[in-house]
């Protein structure tokens, strides 16, 4: 089966977004620093094969496969991949639906999911993310992320030392964790 052009495009965009966020967003950078050294990640769909290979280097993520993946994420079907990649549901919800197979350390995958959540928060309008992501504090305008995803070169964006990362933890503290529709007394009456 030939690969899906749409999924291919979105995966590349996601890869660039992850790389950019890990360099420019302090919350993501802090998580990036917690990821194992020389981590190799692949993202694919059962039957299609891999769509994205990311490698962790000292200066950030770059495209390209390593000798062996440390973390292999595989969607069970194109439908399940599209659901996540087009902003229908979050990665966490996809996992909850048993749509994702995961080879490797689950803790590493959780950290990656935290980065992807923030990337999606930048990439998708709030109208879309509202139903599956809590409100987060953006550290730069989404337009910058769009620009990089469309025209940027992942090899050229780099983490500049660990100086700024020190402030990441304090930044993380400011990040408010939840914004979901209020469960009011009225709608509560209907279900209890």
């Amino acid at each position: 089966m030939s690969k899906s052009i749409l999924v291919n495009f979105i995966c590349k965009a996601l890869g660039k977004g992850i790389g950019y966020a890990c360099c420019k967003d302090l919350v993501c950078r802090d998580i990036f620093l917690m990821l194992p050294k020389d981590l190799n990640i692949s993202l694919g769909i059962m039957g299609d094969g891999e769509y994205l290979h990311l490698r962790k280097t000292e200066s950030g993520f770059c495209f390209g496969a390593g000798a062996e993946e440390d973390l292999k994420i595989t969607f069970k079907s194109r439908k399940s991949a599209r659901l996540v990649l087009l902003g229908g549901i979050s990665v966490a919800e996809s996992f909850a639906r048993h749509d994702i197979l995961l080879e490797g350390n689950i803790n590493t995958a959780v950290l990656l999911v935290r980065i992807i959540d923030r990337v999606e928060y930048y990439l998708f309008p709030r109208l879309i993310t509202r139903k599956f992501l809590p409100r987060m504090q953006k550290e730069f305008a989404s337009l910058k992320m769009y620009g990089f995803v469309l025209f940027g070169n992942l090899g050229k964006v780099k983490i500049e030392g660990n100086k700024k990362a020190k402030s990441a933890k304090s930044r993380l503290k400011k990040q408010k964790s939840s914004e979901k529709p209020e469960k009011t007394d009225e709608n509560l009456q209907n279900v209890v």
């Binding site: 966490a92 689950i106 503290k173 990040q175 964790s177 709608n187 509560l188 279900v191």
Partner: protein, 390 residues
């Protein structure tokens, strides 16, 4: 409720008085003639291994291995697998708590998949159907529910890291719940493992992966726990013990299908950093984490009040007050258990300092349970919760 879910519980359950007398039949049904018994030295010392031999007559074990340490690893798993093959065994019977059962699951996985490096199988749902190794689990604690879960945590002896395995290949063929085997469980352990089961049920009922079937398991478990745990701790009679064994099993099935959440994410981290026993961490963290989840789980908590208390209490509580009332009841319940048993419920009791809180927070945000928890949490949210139990 999710518009799509999966539910898997292919474990045959034998529950009740003298359930063990049917072990012989179950082994025969599975085609096993030379079973291997796995347990630990503690259970051998207190006579539980001997009790099993007595209750399960005429079962004869080809090999009995009781050298499973509390902090078991791939080393023990490989040792068991070699012994199994060399001694010509054809089934595994695991008798014990979480560590024994997880080790047995690991050994069965190695044997069934014929692989030399079990660590390559870590992850979520990547293990394919392997050779069938008959596997029966007999839990001696009432908390983990591990006899019915498709999850195992196994330590890599080389790297000293613990990896999580999620696969239906980890489910045993049969689980035997016989109240007589938990009679010797001391009150402290009865209380903490019982609350662990309660947390499994509450987190399964509120997780992203919750579904109509696991809800039934979770609510039934909650009812059984609220009615039997205090009794099992204070009197330790056979009926309350058996009810707790069943509750733990039901809660295990619920969370095996719906997963757990923030209480476990932070609890695992407390265990890793400060060696806080899992059940104690659950007792410590349940109420503060419920407070944290309250706005997101308002409806679910309101409903759970019915199962944790009774119809009268539920009806007499204003609908808008039910969720908070549940948390109050849970706090009282845990306080009562603590009073009875003296379980230590402050992090400083385990040597915590500011630095260890930071380490716990780092670990908690990377825990697998953070994926399916109903309300996302940040590192700072974890620190706030930890300070409440500091």
């Amino acid at each position: 409720m999710n518009n799509y879910f999966e539910f898997n519980n292919g474990v045959k359950i034998l529950c009740g008085d003298s359930a063990l007398s049917n072990l012989n039949y179950e082994l025969d049904f599975l085609g096993a003639k030379n079973p291997m018994l796995l347990s630990d030295e503690g259970l051998e010392k207190v006579g539980t291994v001997g009790q099993l031999a007595k209750f399960a007559k005429p079962v004869k074990f080809k090999t009995i291995f009781t050298k499973i340490p509390a902090d078991s690893s791939t080393l023990t798993i490989n040792q068991i697998a070699r012994l199994y093959i060399n001694n010509g065994c054809d089934a595994i019977v695991a008798l014990g708590g979480g560590s024994v059962i997880d080790t047995a699951k690991g050994a069965r996985l190695v044997l069934g998949q014929s692989c030399d490096d079990i660590m390559r199988l870590s992850g979520n749902e990547i293990v394919k159907k392997g050779k069938h190794i008959p596997f029966i689990v007999i839990p001696t604690t009432s908390g983990t529910g591990s006899e019915c879960t498709a999850v195992a945590v196994i330590k890599n002896a080389k790297t000293k890291t613990k990896l999580e395995f999620i696969s239906s290949e980890l489910l045993p063929d049969c689980a035997i719940l016989d109240g007589r085997l938990t009679l010797k469980l001391p009150p402290k352990l009865t209380a903490s493992t019982g609350v662990d089961a309660l947390v499994h049920a509450i987190e399964a009922y509120t997780s992203l992966q919750k579904n109509a079937i696991s809800d039934i398991y979770a609510t039934t478990a909650i009812k059984l726990i609220s009615q039997n745990l205090v009794e099992a701790v204070s009197r330790g009679d056979k009926t309350s013990r058996l009810n707790m064994a069943l509750a733990s099993n039901l809660a295990g099935t619920a969370f095996s299908n719906s997963m757990v959440g923030i209480v476990h994410a932070i609890g695992h981290a407390c265990g890793a950093v400060l060696n806080v026993p899992h059940g104690n961490a659950m007792m410590m963290l349940l109420a503060p984490c419920m407070d944290y989840n309250l706005d997101e789980c308002y409806i679910e908590y309101s409903k759970l009040l019915l199962y944790f208390t009774n119809e009268d209490e539920y009806i007499s509580t204003k609908p808008t007050e039910r969720a908070k009332a549940l948390i109050v009841k849970i706090r009282e319940f845990i306080a009562q258990l603590q009073e009875e048993t003296g379980v230590l419920l402050k992090l400083t009791d385990y040597g915590a300092d500011e630095n260890s809180l930071e380490l716990i927070a780092d670990k908690a945000i990377a825990d697998g349970a953070a994926i399916t928890t109903p309300k996302r949490f940040t590192r700072d949210d974890v620190l706030e919760i930890l300070r409440q139990v500091y």
